[in-house]
């Protein structure tokens, strides 16, 4: 009796499972039918895209699906968590969008797959900022830190060594980059600011902030130390222990004297600090400045005479990706560089890797405002249609050549990273 009951039960369960599978199949099927006509292949083209929120716009994935039939599933994490995920769960994503400075950790782990530059249509048109470390007009730019051109190529397909000369194996296909500086509240400071040293000016006691991401924060600190003339670094992105000690000592003294209102870690925190007037001068990111400004509060992404701290990110794929998925990844990267996405990024105040294709997708006025430092002819709108700047406005810092040409250093991972993190903890505890 009990036996029969059991069999009955198991049959029931099986039937139920079958039904469920059928229903699921139906759901998938109907989804495919109501979708776009080209999604008729056995496998829908889906790529899991791991990155920070910076470039993960819904508009981009929508447009990509429309143009290529590739469905992008975003996995959003902070810069640190992206790195952690690549190291610990390389199978959990397909396409990786990350910053060049994390390559020093990612490449030795063997978890990422270098893309073949021959399969990237626009590769030769990528701005020489990445390939040669110079502007399109030939001007050399600052190379301190993990500058992209130092880590752009690998020696071989499966090599874990960076190549100094161009090879066809590219670690990250560049997508977006920018030059960061201090954000200020001109309405509260009421005088021109021209140097990084102002961050430690006692005039702004209790009204300054820096970001609490050690590897980036210490570079902003180094810009300040150098600007005050207390030390000249060989390479701000790769300090010696003595240099780390010196930098942290100067920052600790400022902290003890009450110079800083807060340290921020998160985009929204930086916006809140600035918008509420808790701080009037702080390290900041370009879209955060835009956000403060869109609240109707004066905020300037202040160009400074010592130059900018720059960052850059790009695409690679997980080692676990192969076969058709790899082809889709190439298709996606090629689409990304083909102009629409580039124009979208440029309109947010970032820079796109292939300038020519982005230019073709922007109006002359937009191009003039964002890239050439010209006064806007009409209102400048964000990708979502909100007005960012009124006619006549000029971009902070001016043109692409002015801004990227003044880059002093790049976000970096130091050889003494371990020591630096310890010293940073000491600084926080002081």
């Amino acid at each position: 009796m009990t036996d029969r009951l059991k069999t009955n039960k198991s049959i029931n369960r099986r039937v139920l499972l079958k039904g469920a599978a059928g229903a699921a199949g139906l759901a998938v099927g109907s989804g495919a039918i109501t979708g776009f006509p080209y999604v008729q292949s056995a496998e829908p083209k889906v790529l899991r895209y791991l990155g920070t929120a910076v470039n993960e716009g819904d508009d981009i994935s929508k447009k990509c699906l429309e143009d290529t039939g590739i469905k992008i599933e975003y996995i959003t994490a902070t810069t640190d968590d992206v790195t952690k995920r690549v190291i610990t769960q390389p199978n959990s994503f397909d396409v990786l969008d990350t910053e060049y400075f994390s390559l020093k950790k990612l490449v030795p782990s063997g978890n990422i797959f270098a893309l073949d530059s021959k399969k990237i249509k626009e590769f030769d048109n990528i701005t020489p900022v990445f390939t040669k470390g110079q502007l399109p007009n030939g001007k050399k730019i600052g190379a301190q830190g993990t500058a992209p051109w130092k880590v752009l190529y690998l020696e071989g397909e499966n090599s874990k060594k960076f190549s100094a000369t161009p090879t066809e194996f590219v670690t990250l296909i560049p997508t977006v980059y920018n030059a960061d500086t201090l954000g200020i509240r001109p309405d509260l400071i009421k005088r021109p600011i021209a140097s990084w040293s102002e961050l430690l000016n006692p005039e702004f006691k209790g009204k300054a902030a820096i970001l609490n991401i050690p590897s980036i924060g210490i570079m902003d600190a180094a810009m300040v130390v150098e600007a005050t003339g207390q030390h000249k670094y060989e390479d701000k992105g790769n300090m010696t222990r003595a240099e780390i000690d010196l930098t942290m000592k100067i920052m600790t003294e400022a902290k003890k004297a009450g110079q800083f209102r807060a340290f921020w870690k998160d985009f929204n925190e930086s916006v809140n600090l600035m918008a509420s007037g808790e701080t009037v001068i702080q390290s900041m990111w370009s879209p955060a400045v835009t956000k403060v400004r869109s609240m109707g509060i004066a905020c300037t992404f202040q160009p400074l005479k010592e130059g900018y701290r720059s960052w850059a990110s790009g695409f690679c794929v997980s080692k676990a990706v192969s076969g058709p998925k790899l082809d889709w990844a190439y298709e996606f990267v090629n689409w990304y560089l083909s102009g629409w996405a580039g124009a979208y990024l440029n309109r947010q105040g970032y820079y796109s890797a292939v300038l020519s294709t982005a230019k073709a997708n922007m109006s002359p006025d937009e191009w003039g405002y964002w890239m050439e430092g010209k006064p806007a002819v009409g209102d400048i709108k964000a990708p979502d249609g909100t007005t960012l700047e009124k006619a006549g406005a000029v971009r902070d810092g001016g043109s692409y050549d002015d801004r990227m040409g003044a880059v002093a250093c790049w976000n970096a991972v130091m050889d003494e990273n371990d020591y630096m993190v310890r010293k940073w903890n000491e600084f926080i505890a002081a």
Binding site: D80, K104, N268
Partner: protein
């Protein structure tokens, strides 16, 4: 024979919980302890014995004397915040529980008022981060109000991004953890005992000290354990409310994790665990919870 059988059944009954406990708590903990004694480089853990995670943590503790080293400073700060939060939550929690247990007569109202205590949990960290600035900030409501009333001329800077704001937020959040267990202990106190004390001529204060507090002790200890363990490991609230300028044991672990230095993070976690266990065991030394329950 029956005794043996009984104990076997008892073990069997405890088995599911034990299994979950072993799988999801003890085992991971063992891994953390093992990893804490590994070596590491920029991108991976190296399974070779190394106490680098520990020795780095205590770096300068002897060399820098009489100045305190980072880890000691951090723990002293964390303990200070913990002590302040604990005493305030205890005071407020005890008072609230006392009110709920002895002054509110109807069951319905007791439930309604207890639910009201959960309001702080309706807000997330993000909300708190955004909400405190307009309230406590330099141009916030409190400063504006005080300036308007002519009490201060300069805005008070210590209201936000200070130890004050950290303790305020922690108390605001965790008082509930005190209220519930203390209330639970108090509700079980036989009302006749209080009547007896009253009849014997004890004043209200004497009844409180000699009858209610001793009988509410298990609740107090359980609440204290909740608050102490949460505050010792907290880094989000301390980070947000302290403007990231106040060190905490949890923050050190987070910074290490973010730098992919897992063994060092594990070592710090083991140290934190050890200290927290010390505090808890001394608390349970004072009151034997098992006996009292």
């Amino acid at each position: 024979m029956t005794e043996e059988r009984k104990s076997f059944i008892a073990w069997l009954q405890a088995a599911p919980m034990m299994l979950i406990f072993v799988l999801f708590f003890l085992l991971p903990l063992v891994f953390v302890i093992i990893v804490s004694a590994w070596d590491y480089n920029e991108y991976e853990m190296i399974p070779a014995f190394s106490l680098r995670g520990y020795s780095d943590t205590f770096e300068g503790c002897i060399a820098d004397l009489p100045d305190l080293c980072t880890i000691l400073k951090t723990y002293l700060k964390t303990l200070k915040l913990c002590l302040l939060t604990w005493s305030l939550t205890l005071l407020i929690g005890f008072t609230v529980a006392y009110f709920l247990a002895f002054h509110v007569r109807s069951k319905t109202w007791q439930i309604v008022l207890t639910l009201l205590c959960t309001i702080p949990f309706w807000t997330s960290n993000v909300i708190r981060m955004i909400a405190w600035i307009p309230l406590l900030g330099r141009n916030g409501l409190v400063n504006r109000g005080l300036e308007g009333a002519g009490l201060i001329k300069q805005p008070l800077e210590w209201l936000l991004f200070s130890e004050f704001s950290v303790v305020l937020a922690l108390v605001h959040l965790f008082t509930f953890f005190m209220v519930v267990p203390i209330f639970n202990s108090m509700i079980r106190i036989d009302k006749r005992l209080i009547e007896a004390a009253y009849d014997a001529g004890a004043t209200g204060f004497q009844t409180l000290v000699n009858v209610i507090i001793p009988l509410a002790k298990p609740g107090i200890v359980i609440g204290s354990i909740f608050v102490v363990t949460i505050v010792m490991g907290d880094f989000v609230t301390i980070g947000v409310m302290g403007g990231q300028q106040i060190a905490s044991a949890g923050k050190i672990i987070e910074a290490r994790l973010n730098a992919l230095q897992f063994p060092a993070a594990a070592a710090n976690a083991v140290i934190l665990l050890g200290i927290t266990i010390l505090i808890i065991s001394s608390l349970t030394r004072i009151v034997d919870i098992r006996k009292e329950l």
